[in-house]
């Protein structure tokens, strides 16, 4: 992990990196939750599950938008991320998940069954796969919780 202490890391990125890592899991959990409540709704048609899905997707989009902004700043400000093809791939997957879930929110606003079956459920599956793929790549991305200076100090 020593290469994280890249000296070109800007002060802005030192903030947005941790902010991104803090926010990034929230939409992922929300979208996966909405997939689960969609599956339940499509099996029993109890409307409360549709409402759960709608709120989960809405919350995921709110926190996802904030995370997306942090990721954008990180891309612009942090050379390690910018120059890393996996980093680009990660951000792309995350953005793709958000875009799919934005459409999913609109589909879920239908009054009843067709809010989920079939299109809403398909979008929840696609959005969740993209979000999980983003999770799989986040560990390979040179974004860190720890500001560069502290990492340096921690290094013997």
């Amino acid at each position: 992990m020593a290469e994280i202490a890249e000296p070109t890391r800007s002060p802005v990125a030192a903030v947005t990196g941790p902010v991104y890592l803090l926010l990034f899991p929230i939409p992922v959990v929300c979208f996966l939750g909405a997939l689960i409540t969609d599956l339940v709704y499509s099996s029993d048609a109890v409307l409360q599950w549709l409402f759960f899905s709608e709120w989960l997707i809405a919350a995921g989009l709110v926190f996802g938008l904030l995370a997306a902004l942090a990721a954008l700043v990180e891309l612009i400000a942090a050379e390690p991320l910018r120059s890393n093809i996996v980093g680009w791939g990660h951000v792309f997957l995350f953005y793709a998940a958000l875009i799919v879930e934005l459409f999913n929110a609109l589909v879920h606003s239908v009054d009843g069954w067709t809010a989920v079956v079939p299109t809403g459920l398909i979008l929840s599956i696609v959005g969740s796969i993209l979000a999980l793929a983003a999770v799989a790549t986040v560990f390979l991305v040179p974004v860190t919780w720890v500001p560069a200076r502290e990492v340096r100090r921690a290094n013997p």
């Binding site: 048609a45 793709a96 799919v100 459409f103 009054d111 009843g112 069954w113 809010a115 993209l130």
Partner: protein
């Protein structure tokens, strides 16, 4: 790998938004056999809400040649119904929604905001009361105005019957001792029966009429949702017309499956109850047609399981094929999303002969289709107690050339002189339409000129 996923999701999105675009002529939806396209909502329901600007001094809606329109009363606060009394007094029901609907879904505040924008401020003064206008000489210019009953809870329907004034608040049917001629009612309200109301109370207007013999009252109770998306229990005793015993308050369901029935009126000289109904939204700009229908006792009109007879609504679960099989078609389509809220049959003698027994319908106007529909009072001719031909514009111009809304018509009524009264809850005005030409000089050309 990501590219493939993107393609997959693009395909899904295309799936979500494709389908028929429902491009049909709205006029093909008039009458007993409307053209019904396939449901098509799109990702967002298409919405078009005109800015509310109100009427400037001197502005008025447009009426056909030979007719004259003037403001009967202005400066009201969201007038929704007009009820002329035999002595020439006119009761105006000022009414605003009092219930706050629960925030069950993220889309509620957005739609609520849209609808409140379409309504405008609705007058600055106090509302939810009955105002009495006295036009003793029948010239269309009331000499006095008084508050007949104050502090009501979102009232809509009123009926004077057997020494009482019955008022349908959103949560209760009330009655007050009343003799026409009174300008204020001081006696306390007596509750005849509770009406289905909170905690949601989505379609909150409760219209009211009495049977011709005065033996029964009929109350229209709208649904608590668009298409049962708040669940079955929220629709208990809703989307139906009640028949109420005025003496005891006992009720039975007279007809059901009527999403939002208003304008309850008996056809003159008959025992046939008629209503206009606001049908469901978000199946596309040209679905589902709103309608006028005679109400058959015990009949089921489909909501929420099916529309226009037995066209199944794909959104509703559980499905009820047993009920869909029972659903009957309404009589007469007014086209989609016109939002009819007022209905009166012309029983006066002032207007030309073709109007006798025909229906005037107040169309509040659409908010969920790209081209505005409604925002007018239409006339539908009747022959042998049945509607014939297409609706004709009778009072229009509620939306100006600039696309801004000056007003929106709701309740309609025929006054003692045979003039038509129209409540305009956005323009905060009651309009009065009279026939300018002398009836005996009416030529055929004039009668068919519009």
């Amino acid at each position: 790998m990501p590219t493939r996923k993107l393609l997959a999701c693009a395909a899904v999105l295309a799936l979500a938004s494709c389908g028929g675009s429902q491009k049909i002529d709205p006029e093909s939806q008039f009458g007993p056999n409307p053209n019904l396209p396939e449901p098509h909502r799109g990702l967002l329901p298409q919405m078009h809400i005109p800015n509310v600007v109100g009427w400037k001094p001197g502005q008025a809606p447009t009426v056909p040649n030979g007719f004259k329109i003037q403001a009967f009363a202005t400066g009201l606060s969201s007038p929704r119904r007009v009820y002329p009394l035999p002595n020439g007094d006119v009761i105006v029901v000022e009414s605003k929604q009092t219930a706050t609907e629960p925030l069950d879904r993220p889309k509620r505040p957005i739609i609520g905001w849209m609808i409140s924008r379409a309504h405008g401020p609705g007058g600055e003064g106090p509302s939810n009361r009955l105002v009495l206008l006295r036009d003793a000489n029948g010239d269309g210019k009331p000499e006095s105005r008084s508050v007949l009953v104050d502090h009501l809870n979102a009232p809509f329907g009123v009926v004077a019957l057997n020494g009482y004034l019955y008022v349908a608040d959103t949560d209760a049917l009330l009655r007050f001792p009343f003799t026409p001629g009174q300008t204020a009612i001081t006696a306390p309200a007596e509750k005849v029966t509770d009406l289905p109301a909170g905690p949601i109370d989505h379609h909150w207007t409760k219209d009211l009429t009495a049977s011709p013999d005065g033996g029964k009252l009929y109350v229209g109770i709208g649904s608590n949702s668009n298409a049962m998306e708040r669940g079955e229990t929220a629709e208990y005793e809703r989307a139906q017309i009640w028949e109420v015993d005025p003496a005891t308050g006992a009720h039975r369901t007279f007809a059901s499956g009527l999403r939002n029935p208003n304008g309850l009126t008996f056809y003159p000289g008959s025992n046939t109850l008629w209503t206009v109904v606001n049908e469901r939204d978000e199946l596309g700009p040209n679905l589902v047609p709103d309608y006028m229908t005679s109400v058959k006792p015990g009949a089921f009109y489909g909501w929420p399981y099916s529309y226009w007879g037995q066209h199944v609504d794909p959104r509703v679960r559980p499905q009820r094929p047993d009920l869909v099989r029972k659903a009957i078609m309404p009589d007469y389509s007014l086209s989609s999303h016109v939002a009819p809220l007022g209905l009166i049959f012309y029983s006066g003698s002032q207007f030309p002969a073709k109007f006798a027994g025909g229906a005037f319908i107040g169309e509040h106007g659409s908010w969920n289709r790209p081209d505005l529909n409604g925002y007018r009072v239409v006339f539908v001719r009747f022959q042998n107690g049945r509607p014939v031909g297409d609706p004709e514009n009778f009072v229009w111009g509620f939306v100006g050339e600039d696309g801004n809304a000056r007003g929106r018509p709701v309740g309609v009524a025929v006054d003692r002189t045979g003039a038509l009264l129209v409540a305009d809850d956005v323009g905060n005005t009651v309009w009065r339409v009279s026939y300018a030409a002398k009836p005996f000089k009416v030529s055929g050309a004039q009668m068919t000129s519009f």
